[in-house]
């Protein structure tokens, strides 16, 4: 007989889910797309890697087995891919400073929550590797400490990547990679790069009618929608979620989801839905597989899709998302990965030394690039790895002009309602009406 209280049920259910369901599920409402991307990336890893990660996740739940900041060594939490990339850096750091480094693998989908909870309890690591859009939430709960980058050093990174780790004028992390959505094309099926979205849809439809493929294109959306994946369209005519401030960042006091510009973008989403280019039946679990199985020549996704595509032996080319014929410029969000310093670190200066003086080294940024295949945030490292690497150049081009995902905590109140609005628009709701509903819902939640 179950007599547990709701709280215990929530806790145990959450623990079970967190430790066991892993990256197979679709986008959870309210969770930010960066998590989803990383989840997708996890499934991309080979089976062995996944197993170890799951083991780590199970182990990570027990506090006794998770390394915490203790004042004798530098404890870094990262997911399995990044932890592997950090091993060399850790060795260099140990050799040069004499400070032992403990690398703790924490499953990607648990990292944010565990970092937040453990630091909140006065424990946790010295350093955590994570996405920039966690920042507002982490600052709000005093999980991360400011990182006082010298202006010289800050200038060596791409401006967007530093801006991404800036919240209310303060910098809280050191970036190392930038990612965004782009068009990945199967060059065997579609040799020509489409100049516009219209051309892409027309080519795709011709191929479907000819029976060569099954889908015009593949892009993750799902029954609950996906504001991250639909944002390039919503922002194509200057709309979006929050207005961009001149000094960088977003003005979270104003919501522009029902603005004329955003609705114009919403109409494009409706059109793509009518043309069957977008469908709610493609979600995190089946979007990339459709492309890999050759059911569609086009995939709109990010760097996390590449390992699976390479494994499948598909010839591909990465190009920026095409614009619309009438001048609408698709504008994807940028996601930036970087290093946070815990506000409860027992080794604050040593942790700061690691993130400011070691993470910013070109060789370290290159090593991290090799583990994750995303363009480095440090300009020198980017120049080095993009030499003769068309993929990285293409990702770099796709990220150009993009805006970093807002890192304000209010975004958590946006992903769900706006995502659901995009799903409804694709299935036939009127964009103007549906975005107005989303606007009022977001406003009510803020």
């Amino acid at each position: 007989m179950k007599r547990t209280t709701g709280a215990v049920a929530i806790a145990s259910a959450a623990a079970l889910l967190l430790s066991a369901c892993g990256g197979d599920s679709e986008t959870p409402a309210g969770q930010t797309p960066a998590d989803t991307q990383d989840a997708a990336e996890d499934t991309a890893g080979d089976d062995a890697a996944e197993t170890t990660e799951d083991d780590a996740a199970a182990g990570g739940d027990a506090a006794s087995e998770t390394a915490m900041s203790d004042g004798t060594s530098l404890v870094i939490w990262a997911d399995d891919l990044r932890a592997a990339a950090l091993e060399d850096v850790a060795a260099i750091f140990e050799e040069e400073t004499g400070v032992p480094v403990t690398l703790q693998v924490v499953a990607n989908e648990n990292l944010r929550e565990q970092f937040k909870d453990s630091v909140g309890a006065g424990a946790g690591p010295d350093i955590a590797v994570g996405a920039h859009d966690w920042l507002g939430e982490l600052v709000q709960n005093n999980v991360v400490a400011p990182v006082q980058l010298s202006s010289d050093l800050a200038g060596q990174f791409t401006p967007e990547s530093v801006e991404a780790f800036t919240y209310e004028g303060q910098t809280y992390g050191v970036p190392y990679s930038v990612e965004s959505l782009a068009l990945i094309r199967n060059t065997e099926m579609a040799p020509e790069e489409p100049a516009t979205m219209e051309e892409l849809v027309a080519t795709g439809q011709e191929m479907v009618e000819a029976g060569e493929t099954e889908l015009v294109m593949a892009q993750q959306l799902g029954q609950e929608g996906d504001a991250y994946n639909m944002y390039p369209y919503l922002a194509a005519y200057g709309g979006g979620i929050f207005p961009v401030l001149e000094e960088g960042g977003f003005d979270s006091t104003e919501v522009i989801i029902d603005s004329e510009e955003t609705i114009q973008g919403g109409e494009k989403i409706a059109w793509l839905g009518e043309q069957e280019a977008l469908t709610v039946n493609l979600d995190g679990s089946n979007t990339i597989p459709q492309f890999i199985e050759g059911n569609t020549p086009y995939l709109i996704s990010g760097p996390w899709a590449i390992p699976q595509i390479v494994d499948a032996g598909i010839d591909y080319e990465i190009t920026s998302m095409p614009d619309f014929e009438d001048g609408g410029e698709t504008t994807p969000f940028l996601g930036v990965q970087g290093f946070y310093v815990s506000a409860e670190s027992k080794n604050p200066q040593i942790a700061q030394t690691f993130v400011q003086e070691y993470v910013s080294r070109p060789d370290v940024q290159v090593a991290l690039y090799e583990a994750g295949d995303r363009p480095p945030a440090l300009v020198e490292a980017y120049d080095e790895v993009s030499q003769g690497n068309t993929d990285i150049e293409a990702w770099g081009a796709a990220a150009e002009g993009g805006t970093p995902m807002p890192n304000i905590p209010q975004m958590n109140a946006v992903w769900g309602p706006l995502g659901k609005a995009t799903a409804d628009i694709v299935t036939g709701s009127d964009p103007a009406e549906r975005l107005a509903t989303a606007q009022s819902e977001v406003e009510a939640a803020l």
């Binding site: 709280a7 700061q352 989303a438």
Partner: protein, 552 residues
């Protein structure tokens, strides 16, 4: 606990052997030691409530087991302690949380929030130099206690002239504090910045001081023993409020907090003079324009969360809808799985059937698979466009996008998951029904249907009735299935808080962890309401199944 328990009979026989005493006291000591360790951990973490509870338990252990009295308590105590820790405590804690605004942005205490806001507001002076830094103590002082100072260096650079201006008198010392290769040297303490005579100073490759006369330069690990003090050491410099602070182990920056706190007025003031007043667990701008300061604190909100549940229109409407589905889902699940399980059990109970062991083990298979796998597989099979179900049946049902489709999908999935359990318990119960009652029914002229309805079923229900109630209660809180298959969706336009297939527990989870501003206080309040509902329903259910017992 009886006060008048007489000594146990064994004492009359004579003295208890010494080793029994030793073992008993050994165990008591061991338990107390363990509790002492827990208490020590709790003291270190500053949780005084836990210390009090542990002390209380320790006292109870000592009182109950050290004497010969209170025999029943000796048996009851472990159970009581476990009941307290694992049943009562979570309920009390949840209830306590339900009256707070605890949640994202409100996890700190007010003091922590004030500190956090000030620490986060420290900004670098854009024009100030970046110093090379070493941590030092006076020569001969102990590492743990010696007064800390920063030995600072400024690399020779083109803007050195500017720097001298800014540092004023400190730089007037002229050449005395400049090394041969042009590094300027300073000593920073809480009093301020002083030039450090260059004579006898050794520099490292990165331009920091390695050794200076009169000082003992701490190495990285030594300095780290006093990391908190190093972090707090601020060397006042230049304009008011600016200070040199440690940036890393080898660099220092000049910065100042841009927000100050007036404790008496409970007001935060920024450098530009904007005032933020404390309100509802946040510092909000006094003029009402603009966002609140990031870090907020937990505070008591009284019945606010319960008021939200019962009075907020979006909430109230959603709550009723969810509650109705929350009743229908477990009820339909139990009925459908029970009927299918029972029919199969009746079928496989027929003595004429061969190879029953094989069929039975095959049937139990769904029960043996982990729900995390089956749930996700079923979700994929219900996909309208790419799913197996529509493909095989040739239908085009929007399973997961239509409210009724999603509800049907959940019931189908749960039927598949749940019938093996019902099959198992029905098989067991059927085998325990004696054959003579059926024979008696046959003698009385009852046909197979009549036997089933009037004889077998009532006897079966007596055995499985309580299990059906348990199954109902389990499905009442079947979070995992909903989460894996539909995530509570689909959602009505404009309401992404209330899903069409949400159970109350999924709803609480969304509020607590997934919604825009995760609000654990509100989710706790929902949990308390769920707790009450489950309690009432279980009570009614058991009363009903007690009535079934009367068949015997």
């Amino acid at each position: 606990m009886s006060q008048t328990v007489t000594d146990p009979p064994t004492s009359e026989v004579g003295h208890t052997p010494a080793w029994v005493h030793a073992a008993r006291w050994g165990l008591i000591a061991l338990t107390l030691l363990g509790l002492g360790y827990v208490a020590q951990q709790a003291i270190e973490a500053g949780s005084w409530l836990i210390v009090i509870v542990v002390a209380f338990i320790a006292m109870s252990v000592l009182v109950v087991y050290s004497t010969r009295r209170a025999i029943p308590a000796k048996y009851l105590l472990p159970g009581l302690v476990l009941l307290l820790l694992f049943q009562i405590w979570p309920i009390v804690y949840t209830a306590a949380t339900a009256f707070t605004n605890y949640g994202d942005g409100h996890t700190l205490s007010k003091d922590e929030a004030v500190q956090a806001i000030q620490a986060q507001s420290v900004r670098q002076d854009p024009d100030a130099p970046r110093y090379g830094m070493s941590v030092a103590i006076p020569e001969g002082a102990a590492i743990e206690t010696g007064e800390l100072s920063f030995l600072l260096t400024v690399a020779p650079a083109e803007d050195a002239g500017e720097l001298e201006e800014e540092l004023g008198e400190g730089a007037d010392a002229g050449g005395e504090n400049v090394t041969g290769d042009g590094y300027q040297l300073f000593v920073g303490t809480e009093e301020g910045l002083e030039p450090l005579p260059a004579e006898g100073v050794e520099l490292r490759g990165n331009g920091t001081v390695a050794a200076a006369p009169g000082f003992r330069v701490l190495n990285l690990m030594e300095a780290n023993q006093r990391a908190q003090e190093v972090q707090e050491l601020a060397v006042p410099v230049g304009e008011e409020g600016s200070a040199v602070k440690a940036a890393t182990t080898s660099q220092a920056f000049v910065g100042r907090p841009t927000i100050s706190y007036d404790e008496d007025a409970d007001v935060m003031t920024t450098a530009e003079g904007r005032r933020y007043v404390a309100q509802d667990g946040n510092f909000v701008p006094e003029d009402g324009v603009g966002p609140v300061l990031p870090a907020g604190w937990t505070e008591n909100v009284g019945f606010e969360n319960f008021r939200t549940i019962f009075l907020d229109p979006a909430f109230r409407g959603g709550f009723l809808k969810i509650f109705l589905w929350n009743l229908a889902f477990p009820l339909l699940s139990v009925v459908s799985t029970f009927l299918l399980g029972m029919l199969l059990a009746l079928l496989f109970n027929d003595p004429r059937l061969k190879g029953k062991a094989v069929y039975r083990s095959l049937l139990v298979l769904p029960y043996a698979l982990p729900i995390f796998v089956t749930g996700l597989v079923w979700a994929a099979m219900f996909n309208q466009q790419f799913g197996l179900i529509n493909e095989v049946t040739g239908l085009n049902i929007n399973w997961l996008g239509d409210p009724w489709g999603a509800r049907a999908a959940l019931l189908i999935t749960n039927l598949w998951l749940g019938f093996p359990y019902m099959f198992l318990i029905c098989t067991g119960a059927l085998q325990s029904i004696p054959n003579d009652v059926k024979e008696a029914a046959a003698v009385d002229g009852a046909g197979p249907v009549r036997t089933l309805v009037s004889v077998t079923m009532p006897l079966l229900l007596v055995a499985v009735g309580p299990l059906l109630v348990a199954s109902f209660a389990f499905n009442f809180n079947n979070f995992t299935l909903i989460y894996l298959v539909t995530r509570g969706g689909p959602f009505d336009s404009g309401n992404s808080l209330v899903g069409n297939t949400d159970l109350l527990i999924n709803f609480a989870y969304r509020i607590a962890l997934e919604s825009g501003t995760p609000n654990i206080g509100l989710a706790s309040a929902v949990s308390i309401v769920i707790f009450g509902l489950v309690g009432i329903i279980s009570y009614l259910g058991f009363r009903q199944s007690n009535a079934l017992e009367e068949v015997n």
